[in-house]
């Protein structure tokens, strides 16, 4: 879990740490300065070649050397994972490159998100009606996580749960379950019949049929010949 990098764990760039750059060749120097100038965005090798006007072999060699000297590092750019992307060692990838707090090495940290979702639902269930602050607090106090989550991060999880139709937003009226909550404040509660309902279309073959546009009463694909129907009506 500690692999999750919240915004707080971003390392600040350390300016002027160029003591080791003295031993660089001229080409290495050019390449290094370019990469470093891109700060936390880093740069794709092809762009290095284009911007420095150096030959491929030279650039590749320089990059290798710079990596060996720990001056630059390869990072995953989630926009295009296949591309080799480099960044000066002192920077941490920006949100655009890393994907943000929920990404680890370019991959969405799905298991962690799932754990958080479950945790949030449990807390909302327990509290019946919960505010964002209340949840943030109770999760912190529960000690179920060994990382600190920001309020914004919890809010993101709650938004996703609303989209999952697992919880819903309600406005407090200050009465009943809401007595302790200011009027008008957005709260969360569990959806009484959780999970999406299966509609009329979703429960018949044609409703979810990928071939519906090609299906005609007398055509090759028709309700008479339909394989989906055949399967559906197998008793």
């Amino acid at each position: 879990m500690s692999r999750l990098q919240g915004p707080s764990s971003l390392k600040r760039p350390r300016p002027g740490s160029n003591s080791s750059t003295q031993a660089l060749t001229e080409h290495e120097h050019i390449v290094y300065e370019l990469i470093r100038s891109k700060q936390d965005m880093g740069i794709w090798t092809r762009d290095v070649k284009r911007e420095t006007n150096l030959q491929d072999a030279v650039v590749n060699k320089s990059i290798k050397a710079l990596q060996a000297k720990n001056l630059i590092k390869e990072v995953v750019n989630i926009q295009s994972k296949g591309r080799k992307h480099y960044m000066a060692a002192e920077f941490e990838p920006s949100k655009e490159i890393s994907g943000g707090a929920w990404y680890v090495e370019g991959n969405l940290h799905t298991e962690f998100i799932e754990i958080l979702k479950k945790l949030c639902v449990k807390q909302v269930e327990r509290l019946k009606i919960a505010t964002l602050e209340g949840l943030h607090d109770s999760i912190k106090r529960s000690g179920a996580l060994n990382v600190d989550l920001t309020k914004q991060q919890i809010e993101q999880i709650l938004r996703a749960l609303v989209l999952d139709d697992k919880i819903m937003e309600v406005k407090s009226n200050g009465l009943g379950d809401f007595t302790r909550i200011p009027v008008g404040k957005i709260c969360y509660k569990c959806v009484s019949k959780a999970g999406p309902k299966i509609g009329a279309m979703a429960s018949i073959p044609c409703g979810v049929c990928p071939r519906i546009n090609e299906c005609t009463p007398d055509g090759v694909i028709s309700p008479h010949t339909c394989v989906y129907y055949k399967k559906w009506l197998e008793f």
Binding site: L108, L163, L175, G199
Partner: protein, 523 residues
């Protein structure tokens, strides 16, 4: 709004119920819009008598309405307009009968059934039909029939038939002298939008007459006066046009000659109310459903049209009064009702609170129910991640960029793009490209209007397919069906049992799908 597959489904129904000839005439009207008799003959290449008889059948069953357009450029002959909705209602007859049976006794149900089966009947005809199916010595009196008819008319489930051929004059014509009642031409009329709406509005008798059992003598004079200016009724005037006066009402006294039919609007309104209540029940709980149902009942009288957007405002007291009329509601305390009302207004505003009164927001309830239906298709077709993506777009109601979507739904960016792309290819979502420097941004949104139309069309298509498949299954198993029960053994018995299950599944699916069609088309 008759979509392509809506038309196909309607024709399928007409063919099943009235055969190919009538269907041919119906198709001509469905595809080309209102036409004169001459034109129908020309386009269908049928004989005059064939077309005439087909039109008579369609009129008898309330699927066609004749009218005369008294406008300078309009053709000088009677036009025939097909009523798409009324054709589709034909698959809902069983639902209508259930509705009646929940409120009235068997005789009312039978009466409704007779009207549904025959389209239009006079009191005498209903009486005859009743007695023809009764066992000997069990005859039913005309009074008894009339009494039950009265109940149905009072509750608006049955109405007088519309005028056989209303005349539509051009709207907004202050200069043109009103044809019969100049004095009343100052009355403000909100002009309905489509020609279909205009024709229906012109044909329908005024409210007082529409649901009245009073004899014609009393109403004759008033009726002429009460019609609005844009639609003049030619009572007693001999048709100069080639109107196809239905001859079913020949003979009998004035009173018995009045033709009655089922009022589809009222049934649809009831089903809409039911759908609202059930929706609230699944979304919230039984308490909220009881409260909504009471509110629907209490505000019912104020409702003028089927697609009412909002109910009349109701006070807490009047709601409570209605709640405790219901057996289930009697368990509820005043506070409980108040809490349910809060529940109904605190999430999505199913109920709007305004100066201590409560208003049902039908639109909000229907919209959410429609979204549920579409979302569940998205879930089944494209998966869970797509479901979330779709919901986030639906909630935003505006263009969103891929990365932004990916962040809110916790789906990898690449995967998000793939899913969005797939849905876009199937016309589920709309895409816009924006180029900034060398970067291309993809923006997405849901175009509800077009998507809802697509979904409705697919629903009609699916309904058609269900019906075709049902016929096919029955046809395939003719042999089993023809076998007497005591000879169904071994493999035949297995086949029979399977067919029973198939039928049940197909039939219940048809009913459920029709609920969804009503949700998108009629509510």
């Amino acid at each position: 709004m008759a979509t392509q597959h809506g038309i196909k489904f309607a024709l399928h129904i007409i063919t099943n119920h009235f055969g190919n000839l009538v269907a041919k005439v119906c198709e001509c009207l469905l595809r080309r819009g209102p036409l004169s008799l001459q034109h129908v003959i020309r386009y269908t290449e049928l004989s005059k008598i064939q077309v005439k008889n087909s039109l008579l059948v369609l009129i008898q069953h309330n699927c066609v309405q004749a009218f005369y357009l008294d406008e300078p450029d309009a053709p000088k002959s009677t036009q025939y307009m097909v009523l798409f909705d009324n054709i589709i209602h034909r698959v809902r007859f069983s639902k209508f009968l259930v509705t009646v049976s929940q409120e009235f006794d068997k005789m009312c149900v039978d009466l409704t059934e007779a009207l549904l089966q025959h389209g239009r009947l006079t009191l005498n005809q209903i009486h005859d039909r009743f007695n023809s199916i009764q066992k000997e010595g069990n005859s039913i009196s005309l009074d008894a029939v009339q009494e039950n008819l009265h109940k149905l008319v009072t509750s608006h489930y049955v109405e007088r038939c519309p005028l056989s051929e209303p005349v539509l004059t051009q709207p907004d014509q202050d200069e043109v002298p009103a044809r019969k009642r100049g004095a009343k031409s100052s009355k403000i009329i909100v002009e309905p939008e489509t020609l279909e709406q205009r024709v229906i509005a012109a044909a329908v008798p005024v409210e007082a007459k529409r649901f009245s059992l009073i004899t014609d003598d009393e109403r004759n004079a008033d009726a002429v006066k009460d019609k609005c200016d844009s639609c003049t009724e030619h009572v007693g005037e001999k048709r100069k046009y080639d109107a196809l006066e239905s001859d079913v009402d020949s003979g009998g006294t004035e009173e018995q000659a009045v033709l009655w039919r089922v009022n589809f609007d009222e049934f649809i309104r009831r089903l809409r109310h039911k759908a609202c209540t059930e929706n609230i029940r699944t979304r919230l709980d039984d308490g909220a459903a009881i409260v909504i149902s009471a509110m629907l009942e209490a505000s019912r009288k104020e409702e003028k049209k089927v697609k009412t957007a909002k109910s009349a405002p109701l006070s807490l007291d009047s709601i409570y009064e209605e709640v405790i009329k219901n057996e289930m509601g009697r368990n509820m305390t005043f506070d409980h009702v108040r809490a349910s009302l809060f529940q109904l207004s605190s999430g999505p505003p199913f109920v709007i609170v305004e100066d201590d009164s409560y208003i049902i927001d039908f639109k909000c309830i229907m919209k959410l129910a429609q979204s549920d239906e579409v979302e569940s298709v998205v879930l089944k077709r494209y998966g869970k991640d797509a479901y979330r993506i779709f919901r986030s777009l639906s909630e935003a109601g505006r263009l969103l960029e891929t990365d932004k979507i990916s962040d809110t739904v916790f789906v990898e960016k690449k995967e998000t793009t793939n899913i969005l792309y797939k849905m876009w290819q199937d016309n589920y979502i709309h895409m816009e490209k924006i180029v900034v420097g060398t970067t291309i941004f993809l923006l997405w949104k849901i175009n509800k209007e077009t998507l809802w139309k697509t979904v409705l069309d697919e629903m009609f298509h699916a309904a058609l397919n269900l019906s075709i498949r049902m016929a096919y299954e029955l046809e395939q198993q003719q042999e089993v069906l023809n076998l007497p029960a005591d000879r169904r053994e071994g493999p035949m018995k297995v086949k029979f049992e399977r067919l029973k299950k198939v039928r049940m599944l197909l039939e219940s699916s048809q009913m459920k799908l029709d609920d969804a069609i009503m949700l998108f088309h009629d509510f």
